[in-house]
Amino acid sequence: MIPVPLIRTAALTKHYPGVVALDAVDLSVESGIVGLVGPNGAGKSTLIKILLGLLTPTSGAATVLGFDAGRESLRVRELVGYAPEHECLPADLSAVDFVVHMARMSGLPAAVARERGDAALRYVGLAEERYRRMHGYSTGMKQRVKLAQALVHDPKLLLLDEPANGLDPEGREEMLALIERIGHEFGISIVMSSHLLSEIERVCDSLIVIEQGKLVRAGEIADFTGVTHLLVVEVDGAAAPIARRLATVDVKAKAAGRLLEVSVDPAEATLVHDAIVAAVAEEGLPLVRLEQGRHTLADLFSPAEGGAPAA
């Protein structure tokens, strides 16, 4: 594989009157699924809009797929698909008409646009309802159409702004599975923003953290999660005896009621899993769930971890 730098920024800065939205951000993003994390107002959407050439940076430069985001924005936009965070679908058109139209806006000939529009909606899981006008669509269906219109022209890179926002847990899980499939099976690189680290952790290969317009950290997901890999175990009964059993095999666990938090070194994940299952079985308690702990931004920036500066 040729390592194509998807995105490169140099001292990228964007000022609004009274606000610094981006402050000298230096980034280099390689292919894969990249998470862009930060609290609301951190500068995620500003960064995405500069990459699309929708906003002009105050200073600094950005290139996308080797093209200058400002001067060559039309070349960039041919190769990039974008799904914004907010509502953006015309309620009085059908999904298929709209997505086909967007394909033509990206320069696809009419017949190809129709074919790919239909296919894109099938990829995202919209069946017969794609012929209906969109005003009756659920949030989940709208998010899928947004994804389909971003995908329809076969982009090399997808920029997804909060793609799972507003979805119920099941819808969120399906959306994340879809994104993972697009990134890892279809081979289209993705930059997705989220204010939830759990989403990023679930699908992304690498991560960019920005806060108040500044790049806080950037790197592989493993670099972030390796430090505080937590497993959450829930049993139908008191968890304390299990914690004591685990302590005897050198697994650190913290019990709280029916819950157990276990720190896991990724290198020993399998061993720890086995130890937990064994301990639960020995206690004779039904195991309700065993899952990866949900990290949030709060965890990431907790004092214990410190905010290590970006590379």
Binding site: E78, M102, L108, A119, I182
Partner: protein, 287 residues
Amino acid sequence: MTAGPAPRGAIYDLGYEGYDGPRRGRRYAVWSLYVLSLRNAFGLGRGTLPKFLAFGLVIVALIPALIQVIIAALGPEEDFSFVRPHEYYGFIQAIILLFTAALASDLVGNDRRFGTLVLYFSRPIRWADYGAAKLAALATGLLAVTLLPQTVMFLGNWLGAADALEWAGANAVDFAPIVGSGLMISITFAAVGLLTATYAERRAFAIISVLALFLIPFIVVEGITEISDDAKYAAFASPVHVMRSFTLVLFNEVPTIDLPGSVFILAAFAYAAAAAALLLTRLRSSV
């Protein structure tokens, strides 16, 4: 973390196909936007109501032409005119205004209301391209209530004339002014209407704003030019007056406002150009 998830059910179980074929670029994209906007303006691909509204107004705009054609065909021997070309827009002024207001609010209002603008500008087009496509779409749509009835009337009168050759000789001179005034009114009303519609968030407000922008100056100018002849320059504040005088000048008639004809030709072009330029600037600041 490299293995993909197992396919989840049949609906996802489709291989992805890339696309290496041609990408037609910006002009094709703008053309596509123009065609879709024009179709949507007439309600095609949308609900029944927009269709009913647009086609209904076109039919109403045709009524004076049809009456005139019937009179020309069946009427008395002498050249009786129910409506003459330079008076036509005055007959259907309300229809042209309603058509402009309703379609302008749809054409730019919907994309703003639904937040779709940002999707257009993430495609390979420039700011001005979007405005130009919308302007062209509305202007083309407006031709259906300006140039179309005039052309129907012209051809109907011709066919109904006792001596077609003689009629053509006497009236051919009207054809260029018909086309010229139809185009100018369509372009100017489209630009002024779209510009106004971008300022109103809700559809009803957009329609009312567009109507108000045409009607209030019209009524004011009508009123003050009645009172004082010195107020004639106020006519330039009223797009309807400028277009009316422009039309009269084209048809070689005397404008109702006492100023040289060339002034209205210039004013009409200035109106169209200024409204179009403001529209494009306005759209640029909206994403």
